[in-house]
Amino acid sequence: MAETLTHIGQTEPRPTGWQGIAADWSSDQRAFKNVSWGKAMMWIFLLSDTFIFGCFLLSYMTARISTRVPWPNPSEVFALRIGGSDIPLILIAIMTFVLISSSGTMAMAVNFGYRRDRRKTAILMLVTAALGATFVGMQAFEWTKLITEGVRPWGNPWGAAQFGSCFFMITGFHGTHVTIGVIFLIIVARKVWRGDYDTGRRGFFTSRTGRYENVEIMGLYWHFVDLVWVFIFAFFYLW
């Protein structure tokens, strides 16, 4: 930790205990020493976004426990008929697997980004984007299936109307996050491929130069979206 200059230019001894903790957090220039602006901004955004998803999920839980009509059984609703038998949650399982795998390819992309391996980084980011797009595609399939079975935001054939409301709202909001992620993955992948982060080419809108760290920042977002899905999966489908 860096020390602060006093008004006569001497460095102060570092306090210990709680005061030391406060001094570290409030220390000169940056509260988080090795964290760049972009990364700090992404973390704080994710914190705020956590509250949004938290409110959505809590509202859903409230709706579910306070309804007096039975809640449709997710294992039945989300079953697919394959080879003559109903397999519960099979599509969701595949979707979850795809999304988690995409987090793996994302992590590899970050690694290769820091090794300046432009080709591998860009390819892995595109693979991540493809997996993300697959996820959204399967979600669209699931929506279509439910809609043809008569599920609507305002009602469904099996029970509490809030089932459809929460389902479309929460998966829709999450799916939007994934879609935005896919778009940005492609944009960043293109920049990596073109070598923008080596040549110092400036962004079209921001007129800032970027760094390979942007791949990691992109990764933070992607892992977050992935993590949120785990919660949605647990609370909506497994409950």
Binding site: L5, T6, H7, R30, W37, M41, I44, C55, A160
Partner: protein, 589 residues
């Protein structure tokens, strides 16, 4: 003697001079500007513009309350629409936008010694989305059926029923959309403010050397980033209820003898989401005011702030506590007595850090060299008003007192004192204080004093009698009170009196606006540091500060922001960026 070479391990400031975006055309310099100072002025101007709408609405309401039956065009529906738009505009589109978007943008980079916000492009988008939100809000006035009349709390189920103005029309849809846009736009700006304070400070500027203004705005922004999500979610869900017919907040309900398709939703859920945002919101407008007032008092009393560390911890503590008190707005909605007990307790605990702040302000004034400048007058007025509103808050925080007083004029008086008048007084004080930095000229002194006295005394004459009306049982949100037995002759007179005062105070604001415009050209030249203040924004090489804020080199900070009247120093203030020892500084080690 002074060692200014960076010690090891301190990374250089991230964006060097060359990285700063240099606008090339008139458009990118003044309209689509990425400079926080321009964005600040855009935010402030837009907020003031929409705030004037809210002011006019308050006149219309007062016309109706003061002289019932005289103005036919103010129907009960219109009255509801007026209170709703007035309340929402004042709280969100005026105060939040002005304190964070306006003062935050202008002061944060200057005060922490940065050239700009960390992501100027995102910061610019923030303003334009805010403007869009304002336009959507205003379009409610022109939509068929007019704006929503649901009250600023927008409680369902009434908010989306046909009995409420705008409930089945466009009003509520536009209101909710506008809120969603506002939150998106605010988040973009808010992330910038937070990261700039955390990671963008200049050499020597530790967090414990930040002026309290920055602490107030910073904490309020963090709170906003955590509280607005609840409003966002509530707005999305109500929008779905209204537009798609879902039933998140709508129980089974029949309207005009007709059963509506809704079923099984929970209106109380909305209240929880709303107030999880709504209570922190009070402090989102109060904390910046706390911070600014601390700096005004210290500067204009030529004395260091008393208990700087305590002030910081009080700000942070109030911010944290205000997330666990929200249900004190819901005592009448009914809750388990233990919950009532819990929320009453937490509410009263907030009084402790708040009282600490008040004592520290007073102790800062104690034996100070008080200059009764206009900013100082407003700061003093703030303390009085805030204590006043805070005390009635202590009453209302208790379940047994709140239940009978709920939804009376007493509540209206309370929240206008504490989150209406008090922050607005700080806004005025701050404008008189920083206007010279923004424009290079002083505001007219005589008009300023006129503005102060009329506003301060007038606000008391408006809102003080409302306490009394409330205790008599006069309800809030009633367009027509004439035939109620509680409305005695004297209560009617009081209402007319309040209304006349409201017009006088409103008129004083016109004088203020005139002063703002007139002084840009005709004000006295201010020079770079007219108040002889210590903080960095007064030490810029240019006034108004040029693009990039601080000439070639960023300032280096050697001391806290409150070295006033240090014994032994040549002047009675030592700027934060002045090296050297001048005897005993009171900076906390």
């Amino acid at each position: 003697m002074v060692d200014i070479t960076p010690a090891d391990g301190i990374p250089p400031a991230e964006v060097a001079e060359v990285e700063l975006y240099h606008p090339r055309s008139w458009w990118t310099k003044y309209v689509f500007s990425q400079d926080a100072k321009v964005i600040a002025i855009q935010y402030s101007a837009t907020a003031t513009g929409i705030g004037l709408v809210a002011l006019v609405l308050s006149w219309l309401m007062r016309l109706q309350l003061g002289f019932p039956g005289t103005f036919d065009f103010i129907t009960p529906e219109a009255y509801y629409q007026f209170i709703t738009m007035h309340g929402m505009i004042m709280v969100i589109y005026l105060l939040t936008a002005l304190f964070l978007g306006g003062f935050g943008n202008y002061l944060i980079p200057l005060m922490v010694g940065a050239r700009d916000m960390v992501f100027p492009y995102v910061n610019m988008l923030s303003y334009w989305i805010y403007l869009l939100a304002v336009l959507v809000l205003v379009s409610g006035f022109f939509a068929p059926g007019g704006p929503t009349g649901a009250g600023w709390t927008l409680y369902p189920p009434q908010a989306i029923l046909s009995g409420t103005p705008g409930g089945q029309g466009w009003g509520i849809i536009l209101m909710l959309s506008s809120l969603i846009l506002f939150i998106i736009g605010f988040t973009m700006g808010g992330l910038n403010y937070v990261v700039t304070v955390l990671q963008g400070r200049t050499r020597g500027m530790t967090m414990m050397r930040l002026p309290l203004t920055v602490w107030g705005i910073f904490t309020a922004t963090v709170m906003a980033l955590l509280a607005f999500p609840a409003l966002f979610v509530a707005s999305v869900m109500m929008l779905l209820d209204r537009a798609l017919g879902t039933s998140f907040f709508m129980p089974a309900i029949s309207e005009m003898g007709e059963q509506l398709p809704h079923n099984g939703g929970s209106p109380i859920l909305f209240q929880h989401l709303f107030w999880f945002f709504g209570h922190p919101e009070v402090y989102i407008v109060a904390l910046p005011a706390f911070g600014i007032v601390s700096d005004l008092i210290s500067t204009h009393a030529r004395k260091n702030i008393f208990g700087y560390r305590m002030m910081v911890w009080a700000i942070v503590g109030i911010g944290a506590l205000s997330f666990v008190v929200w249900a004190h707005h819901m005592y009448v909605s009914g809750m388990h007595p233990y919950f009532g007990f819990f929320f009453a307790t937490t509410t009263l605990i907030i009084a402790i850090p708040t009282a600490i702040k008040v004592y520290n302000w007073v102790l800062t004034l104690w034996r100070g060299d008080i200059h009764l400048t206009i900013p100082m007058l407003f700061a003093l007025a703030f303390i009085v008003t805030f204590v006043n509103g805070g005390l009635t808050g202590l009453f209302l925080g208790n379940v047994v007192v709140d239940v009978p007083l709920s939804d009376t004029m007493f509540v209206v008086a309370h929240f206008h004192m504490v989150m209406g008048v008090a922050p607005i007084l700080v806004v005025f004080g701050a404008i008189y204080h920083w206007y010279p930095k923004v424009t290079g000229r002083m505001l007219n002194e005589m008009l300023g004093r006129f503005h102060f006295w009329v506003t301060f005394l007038g606000a008391y004459l408006i809102f003080f009698p409302m306490h009394y009306l409330g205790l008599m049982g006069v309800p809030r949100r009633y367009a027509e009170l004439t035939d109620m037995t509680i409305m005695t002759e004297s209560a009617h007179h009081l209402n007319s009196f309040i209304s006349i005062m409201a017009f006088i105070v409103g008129f004083a604001q016109m004088v203020f606006l005139f002063n703002l415009i007139w002084s840009i050209r005709h004000g006295r030249e201010a020079g770079g540091n007219p108040w002889r203040a210590t903080t960095l924004e007064w030490q810029t090489p240019h006034t108004p500060p040029a693009h990039g804020n601080f000439g070639k080199d960023l300032p280096i900070v050697y001391r806290w922001a409150y070295d006033y009247s240090v014994p032994g120093a040549k002047e009675d203030f030592i700027p934060q960026n002045m090296p050297g020892s001048f005897g005993p500084s009171r900076e906390p080690a």
